[in-house]
């Protein structure tokens, strides 16, 4: 599979992803799965400014990604798949698309009602419910902001 990282991160294409993970995994493509962003060209342009040289980005809806998943996860190019939240990754995983995926949580930040679980992960009851469902739909879910950071399993996140 060409997808070298499945990541949930509110900031999508940003420093930790393109520098921290990018230098480690050497992806050639960033696949951003987000219904809102897929429809907003000006926002896509902002994210494109953050791409390292020699890489490209695709901005697709969940439905488009599911429909093209076999092609998108083919042999190449090495790809980092990003969603901004748990719910989007869970929608992608519905129907067995991501059964072999190891999903990385890299940034779910504070908002009203969310409690801190890690320095970069805050969850509320709805998030926990989605996380439980996601963990059942994929091979593994863990939090790890950077390659050298310790992995924290979904079980540990759910306490």
């Amino acid at each position: 599979m060409s997808i070298v990282l499945f990541r949930i991160d509110e900031r999508l294409v940003h420093g930790q992803v393109v520098i921290g993970w990018g230098n480690h995994l050497k992806p050639k493509r960033y696949l951003v799965v987000d219904d809102e962003l897929a429809a907003s060209e000006w926002e896509q342009e902002l994210y494109l400014l953050g791409l390292p040289e020699g890489t490209e980005a695709l901005f697709l809806t969940v439905a488009e990604t599911v429909g093209r998943f076999e092609e998108l996860s083919g042999d190449e190019p090495a790809t980092v798949l990003l969603t901004r939240d748990l719910a989007t990754m869970a929608r992608l995983a519905r129907g067995g698309t991501l059964t072999e995926a190891r999903v990385n949580i890299g940034g779910i930040h504070h908002s009203p009602g969310r409690e801190q679980v890690l320095g970069y992960v805050y969850l509320d009851d709805d998030d926990r419910e989605i996380l439980r469902g996601l963990a059942d739909s994929v091979e593994a879910v863990f939090a790890q902001d950077l390659p050298a950071s310790p992995r924290v399993s979904a079980t540990q996140l759910l306490g």
Partner: protein, 140 residues
């Protein structure tokens, strides 16, 4: 253009506010240094970190500290969550600008020229920042 005396801006001109937005504790460190060197306070330059914050929260906090007057947002990098939020904060209206790659010489120049028109000030700050990046000649 003002004379760069560091005195309080004169009446009638709304001085520009500066916001340093950066990763970790970098912004606070830079702003502390400017406050110590130039003797200005938070009315001139404030620090904002992206630590533990999502894009929406960064954008909200940026809007709060920039207020409704003219503002320059200084970021550490050209890309990433700080730069992206700064760009978004400047989309509406013409009273805010972003300068990427902040350094102390650039910020020092800023705090002494807060009454200048934004369109003159920003290119000047970029030039000051670039000029200040130098290397020492080899000892040999």
């Amino acid at each position: 253009m003002s004379e760069g005396t560091g005195e309080a801006p004169s009446e009638g001109v709304r001085p520009i506010r500066g916001v340093v937005l950066a990763h970790g504790t970098m912004a606070q460190g830079m702003v502390d240094a400017i406050h110590r060197i130039a003797g200005v306070g938070e009315e001139a330059l404030v620090a904002l970190s992206n630590e533990g914050k999502g894009p929406d929260q960064i954008l909200r906090e940026l809007s709060d500290v920039c207020g409704d007057g003219p503002a320059v947002i200084f970021t550490d990098l050209f890309t990433g969550s700080c730069a992206l939020s700064a760009r978004k904060a400047c989309i509406q209206g013409d009273r805010r600008r972003v300068v990427f790659g902040a350094n102390l010489p650039m910020l020092l120049d800023f705090v002494f020229h807060r009454e200048d028109p934004l369109d003159e000030l920003v290119p000047r700050l970029v030039e000051k920042g670039r000029e200040a990046v130098q290397s020492a000649p080899s000892a040999g």
